[in-house]
């Protein structure tokens, strides 16, 4: 039994925190590399282009609707690219390739986990969200519930998710830039923070969206080129590619099959991935940038296509890296880790995709891929900052403090002040958390999104019986449980706090915290017999009709 447990534990270590490994792609000790001029030049070209876009967007951004939702004028196709861009982070690109490079087949498992949440969002959430909301998901959750408490809760959990995610991205950016460009950690974090504030402050959602679109196109074309070059070396036969990869890899044929995993942890991870996506504030915000429910629907269709295509490519890239990079002269080095000599890729296995770029496209393409990897982080942090700023200005300031009577100019001013504050906070936290394990933060962000935001959002749309009390208490319980269980689990309790055994045995808390959030929300709502609760239930029909038909939804008319 003990033997089995150990095996399972090893399996979990291999399979557990998809998001943790994703963040792990860019953590750990990083050696500063010599300045890579190709990459630096490409990166500055990207920055110049995106600042140009920001200038263009700034001239078009006047009203609150422009600032939060790009005036609602983004098409489904463009929004699909932007959503895909938000999803194809540097961690996802470098991380999946690295995981396939190390472990083979297990990489594909994560690709799928990331993807299958999208159809669910389309079938159940996207159109209703667009029909009911205006700028933030709190609009939807508070549609028929008490504005003050529900919006305060939503703003709180948005800010928690956004800050945790921001820290992970900032630390990741710092590490990545050290590796790729040869800059110092501090200047890297500062640069990311300043650019992020510029995009959001001046260009709002329009600039943020276009930065994301440009990056998505660059990343998709770069990855396509890499995959084609890999397949060209094997005469476009995947079988030959797998044969050569197996021959090159020390684990041999084992890389073609999945490793063992703990069922509870796997299922829990699946839940966090699937429903966390449907609760991420910066992703949900993208559904308000399109004209109507139909465009929202198209957005998800295109996003699923792009993300799926990209994940299939990373698989070719990962196996291609085993074939073309592993054991190649000049790409491997021997380093000392914990007193032992380890033979590894220059810069660590997270650099698999970067080295492959060099192998198939030389220095210039290496520079291109490095610049794209970094640009990816810029685009993602801009989206995060904007959703944090919206939570403060739209949900807290305009709706809670001013009771919905704020004037638009003031509301935008509050957003801009918040953006600057978030930028400063992100830079400071990025510096403070430099040595921290950022792995758990990304997992935490997804778990909180799945346990706090998703149940409230979902029940508000589908369950007549939801009351304000239920939503707030249940959401807070989900938020706290997710945080506490992650702290007591192996990722923090053992790896960060160095205790011997974890109090809570699983790395992924979602199966427990999400279930508990649903149960508490249900129970508190059912027990709530107040007059207000009765009124809220009575308003469900009107909400449902609007969610279904879009009658009264914003878009056609001014808000």
């Amino acid at each position: 039994m003990r033997q089995l447990k150990l095996q399972l534990a090893a399996g979990i270590a291999a399979l557990a925190p998809a998001l943790c490994w994703a963040a792990g792609a860019i953590e750990g000790d990083v050696k500063r590399q010599p300045t890579n001029w190709h990459a630096v030049i490409m990166f500055f070209l990207f920055v110049a282009l995106t600042l140009g876009v920001t200038y263009w967007a700034a001239r078009r951004t006047k009203s609150a609707k422009d600032f939060y939702a790009a005036g609602g004028g983004i098409t489904g196709f463009q929004n699909g690219l932007a959503i895909a861009g938000d999803y194809m982070s540097a961690a996802s690109f470098l991380g999946i390739s690295a995981l396939v490079f190390d472990k083979g087949y297990d990489g594909l498992i994560y690709s799928m986990g990331f993807l299958v949440g999208w159809p669910i969002i389309l079938f159940l959430v996207a159109e209703r969200l667009r029909n009911l909301g205006k700028y933030t998901f709190a609009d939807v959750a508070s549609y028929r519930l008490g504005q003050m408490p529900v919006r305060s809760f939503a703003a709180l959990s948005t800010l928690v998710v956004v800050s945790i995610y921001l820290i992970a991205q900032m630390v990741g950016a710092g590490k990545l830039i050290q590796l790729l460009f040869g800059m110092s950690y501090g200047s890297a974090v500062l640069l990311v923070g300043v650019l992020m504030v510029c995009y959001v402050l001046f260009g709002g959602m329009l600039a943020t969206t276009w930065v994301q679109i440009i990056k998505a196109v660059l990343l998709l074309s770069g990855a396509t080129f890499m995959a084609i070059m890999v397949l060209a070396t094997v005469g476009f036969s995947p079988e030959v590619m797998f044969e050569r990869a197996v021959a090159a890899h020390s684990k041999g044929v084992a890389i073609m099959a999945p490793g063992k995993a703990d069922p509870i942890d796997s299922i829990s991870l699946g839940l966090a991935l699937m429903f966390g996506t449907a609760g991420l504030p910066h992703i949900l915000m993208r559904f308000f940038t399109v004209a109507d429910a139909k465009e929202a629907r198209k957005s998800v269709f295109f996003a699923t296509g792009f993300i799926g295509y990209f994940y299939i490519l990373t698989f070719i890239i990962g196996f291609g890296a085993i074939m073309l990079v592993l054991n190649q002269p000049g790409m491997m080095e021997t380093v000392t880790k914990g007193g032992k000599e380890v033979h590894q890729l220059v810069g660590g296995s997270n650099m698999a995709a970067i080295h492959l770029a060099n192998a198939v496209g030389g220095d210039i393409f290496l520079g291109f891929i490095s610049a794209v990897a970094f640009a990816t982080i810029l685009a993602v942090v801009a989206g995060l900052a904007l959703s944090g700023a919206s939570a403060v200005s739209h949900d807290l300031y305009a709706s809670v403090i001013k009771h919905g009577h704020a004037n638009e100019t003031d509301e935008i001013r509050v957003s801009k002040i918040t953006t600057v504050v978030l930028g400063v906070v992100a830079i400071v936290l990025g510096l403070v958390f430099e040595k921290q394990n950022i792995a758990f933060m990304v997992g935490l962000a997804f778990s909180i999104a799945a346990s706090a935001n998703f149940p409230v959002l979902f029940l508000s749309m589908f369950w007549r019986g939801l009351t304000t009390r239920g939503a707030v208490v249940g959401g807070l319980v989900g938020l706290l449980t997710a945080v506490v269980l992650i702290v007591l689990g192996p990722t923090v309790w053992v790896e960060v706090l160095k205790h011997e055994h974890a109090v809570f045995p699983y790395k992924n808390p979602a199966i427990f915290s999400m279930t508990l959030a649903f149960l508490v929300t249900w129970l508190v709502s059912v027990l709530d017999t107040s007059r207000q609760a009765a009124e809220e239930k009575a308003k469900f029909d009107a909400q449902y009709v609007r969610a279904m038909t879009g009658i009264g939804a914003s878009g056609a008319s001014k808000h």
Binding site: Y105, L108, F242, E243
Partner: protein, 102 residues
């Protein structure tokens, strides 16, 4: 939306048809996706060797590779089915309901 308009829409047979078809399709496809994904996760958790078998005699490629790619494609196909039906059936129906409620 006022009470009168709400009643009018809710008693419109076209609205009932829309709700019935749209929620039916949405939930059916969502359940199909969940079954595919969690079916795969359960195989992975309880019998991973099933996915590690060679695709054919002498192949390096395992059964798990096309299945994995298949799951990604199934997600795309399912969204495609939904979008197609929504564009062809639900949108015209919604349009009619909106017109009739005026």
């Amino acid at each position: 939306m006022n009470e009168e308009m709400l009643q009018k829409i809710q008693s419109n047979p076209k609205y009932l048809e829309l709700v019935h078809k749209k929620t039916g399709l949405g939930w059916t496809l969502a359940i199909v996706m969940l079954v595919i994904y969690y079916g795969y996760i359960l195989v992975l958790a309880f019998d991973p060797s099933l996915l590690g078998k060679p695709l054919y005699d002498g192949a390096t490629m395992t059964v798990g590779i096309p299945i994995g790619v298949g799951i990604i494609l199934s997600a795309f196909v399912l969204t495609g089915i939904y979008v197609r039906r929504a564009n062809r059936e639900f949108d015209p129906l919604t349009q009619q309901i909106v017109e009739e409620s005026k």
